[in-house]
């Protein structure tokens, strides 16, 4: 019974998906009082976790739906954060300032524009070369922010950054307000992405991922479809960047390095490429490890060691974050390439090659070689 119900929920069928979404939403809305009631004190960590989930949702458009491996995703996060900083910070070099809300929208737009600009040169590329070009962009963008000191403050970064304003609510040191803001943006993102994916564009992305030539011959314009994937993927990163800048009131180029791109990628891969529920779960899992569990688990381990009379003070999981993200990538790819909560289609694709090869060995003397090798 329960298993069947869970199966409906996981499988991504419409009714199940909505029930799950509704449940998650209620839980999300009730979380701040719950956190206070249970005395968890985790609200400050939950906001960045949700920010990472939004990042993962955006990257999922590019990697999961359109099948383009983007290794420089943190660049768009940086562009979103710097856009908000430029538009709202009192130390900004711009001659004018805007409201945070306008900056939030503009961050979305500017990141999308950069997604298209940086996506354009990669249009002819496929697979691994595309990944490397995006990686190079991901390295270039924060470095430009770092080096253009007169505009961006260089390594000193930009602070403070303008606060959002709402009648009756103050965002200054108010984690609850930031929490609801990030939930609102998250819900909007989930809604928008699910509409996009179910639309003509979403189907074009999936078709392109499965077979570019076939998709093109069905009348899909590969250029606009790819650029839309890059643009839309980047735009949600822009959202996240704007909230990041506003919440922490400080940004510097070091916060947008390759590690962030890989962390977000691990969330998408671990959760399940092409499945929003999966990506949200993957995002929450890895981001909570990053923000909460690494420190707490270290503490617990040391305490447990103390009880058993072993000195575990050398254990420090927070310096093993890279190891965890690395392992998440390697083990997922080796053991369950479709991710924890797979999209049925993606699983079929990822397993197809394996299946073919597994069925073949009796007749095929060189089963260890890829079938499509030229």
């Amino acid at each position: 019974m329960v298993a069947a119900a869970l199966k409906t929920l996981w499988s991504g069928e419409r009714a199940g998906r909505w029930a799950l979404l509704l449940g998650a939403l209620v839980l999300a809305l009730l979380y701040p009082p719950l956190d206070q009631w249970l005395g968890l004190g985790l609200l400050g960590a939950v906001v960045p976790i949700f920010m990472f989930v939004i990042l993962a949702l955006g990257l999922n458009i590019v990697v999961g739906y359109a099948g383009l491996l983007d290794l420089g995703y943190a660049a768009f996060f940086a562009i979103g954060a710097y856009t908000t900083a430029f538009l709202t910070s009192p130390v900004s070099p711009l001659p004018f300032r805007t409201d945070f809300w306008l900056a939030l929208v503009l961050s979305f737009v500017v990141a999308a524009i950069f997604g298209v600009i940086l996506g354009a040169p990669t249009l002819r590329l496929r697979g691994d070369y595309l990944a490397i070009v995006t990686l190079a962009f991901g390295e270039i963008v924060p470095r430009v922010f770092l080096n253009a000191e007169s505009i961006t403050g260089g390594a000193k970064g930009i602070k403070p950054i303008g606060y959002p304003t709402l009648p009756g609510v103050s965002f200054v040191n108010n984690q609850v307000a930031w929490y609801y803001l990030v939930v609102a943006v998250g819900v909007f993102s989930v809604w928008m992405i699910s509409r996009l994916v179910d639309s003509r564009i979403g189907r074009a992305w999936v078709a392109m991922r499965e077979d570019e030539v076939a998709a093109a011959s069905m009348g899909i314009n590969l250029v606009t479809t790819k650029l839309l994937a890059f643009g839309m993927g980047a735009s949600f990163s822009g959202f996240s960047g704007a909230i990041f800048a506003g919440m922490f009131q400080f940004i510097d180029p070091g916060q947008f390095e390759f590690q962030i791109s890989v962390m977000v990628l691990s969330m998408v891969i671990l959760g399940g490429m092409g499945n929003m529920t999966g990506v949200i779960v993957g995002g929450i899992l890895l981001a909570s490890f990053d923000r909460i569990l690494a420190e707490r688990a270290t503490h617990w381990l040391r305490q447990a060691g103390g009880l058993l009379g072993a000195d575990l003070s050398w254990v420090d999981l927070s310096s093993s974050k890279m190891l965890i993200f690395g392992l998440a990538l390697v083990l997922t790819m080796l053991l369950r390439p479709e991710g924890l909560i797979p999209s049925a289609r993606r699983r079929a694709e990822l397993r197809a090659a394996q299946l073919e090869a597994d069925l073949a060995p009796a007749t095929d003397p060189v089963s260890s070689t890829p079938a499509d090798r030229s």
Partner: protein, 318 residues
């Protein structure tokens, strides 16, 4: 821009050339690993730069274990340094073979992006190993290779250019390795097997070549060269850090792409060219822009001439 300075004093160009060649020699050693692996299984072995980093760390550990110090007479220092070099190369070669066996071989039939994603994960794992092993800050190497300026101090020339013994050390170690690899790939049975496997795995297998063994051999050689690179890097720059493999790896990968990926001569040529561009950019603009310049070049080559300088035009596959 310091271009005026360069025109007034052309000798400085020679200096840039010397620095560029030393940088380039190390890059060439790493780039060969990328190009060999890509040539044979079409995988950008993202973890290769981190194998290079672990090579430098291994070399440092061996130097400390053998208690090598600058004061030792050359007759003891040289054989012991060679021992360190061989030990380092053996360690990284074994490591690279293990990585292939555990992380890449199971995915050889998977979609092409799967091993690439695994390689990125592997890179992070290795980086974290380096972090736990040697800590988060720079580790320093003892100045075992005496740094003597040959032109000013030995020959007594009065010039702004300095050609140091450390520069000669880099070249003296790199060139034999490059020649040795070239001989191995061109003139031995195993080398022939590697070339055959790179051309067409199925046909090579039908000719009786053990594909798994040949691929493992490729990783072995690539790992050994990365280890040699790490050893030279450590002794030349006298410092190393757990995260240096990432940037060094990307620079070397750029070299491999510039030369034409899959092409051994191309990787060496690309390594020296990127080394020169690196030195020139450090001199003309500012070291802080060098990575932007190099990665900009990477993007331009991939977009406009993905086959590189010496590579044959290869049809792209998904």
């Amino acid at each position: 821009m310091n271009i005026g300075l360069l025109i007034e004093n052309p000798a400085l160009l020679l200096q840039v050339l010397i620095i560029g060649l030393s940088n380039g020699a190390i890059l060439a050693l790493i780039a060969l690993g990328y190009t060999m692996v890509y040539g044979i299984i079409e995988l950008i072995n993202f973890a290769h730069g981190d194998v290079f980093m672990l090579g430098a760390m291994t070399a440092l550990t061996l130097i400390q274990v053998l208690a090598l110090a600058p004061g030792l007479p050359a007759s003891t220092l040289v054989p012991l340094l060679l021992l360190v070099l061989v030990g380092t190369m053996a360690t990284t070669a074994t490591l690279n073979v293990l990585i292939e066996r555990l992380a890449y071989r199971p995915l050889r039939r998977a979609p092409r992006l799967a091993p690439l994603i695994t390689a990125i994960g592997m890179s992070f794992i290795l980086m974290n190993i380096g972090l736990h092993w040697k800590g988060p800050s720079y580790v320093t190497f003892p100045p075992l290779i005496p740094s003597i300026d040959l032109l000013n101090e030995v020959l007594g020339l009065r010039t702004v250019v300095s050609l140091r013994t450390t520069d000669l050390f880099v070249v003296a170690l790199t060139v034999p390795l490059l020649l040795g690899l070239n001989w191995f790939v061109r003139h031995t049975r195993l080398g022939k097997a590697m070339r055959a496997t790179a051309q067409n795995q199925e046909a090579a297998a039908l000719m009786g070549i053990d594909i798994n063994q040949t691929i493992a051999l490729t990783f072995l050689i690539a790992g050994a060269l990365a280890g040699a690179g790490g050893f030279i890097q450590g002794l030349y720059y006298q410092s190393a850090r757990f995260d240096m493999g990432f940037r060094a790896g990307l620079m070397a990968f750029t070299s491999a792409v510039l030369g034409g990926i899959g092409n051994l001569t191309g990787a060496v040529l690309g390594g020296f060219l990127i080394g020169l561009i690196w030195a020139l950019s450090d001199f003309l603009f500012d070291p802080k822009w060098t990575l932007v310049v190099v990665f900009g070049i990477l993007v331009l080559i991939i977009v406009f001439r993905p086959s590189g300088l010496l590579g044959a035009e290869v049809p792209e596959r998904a």
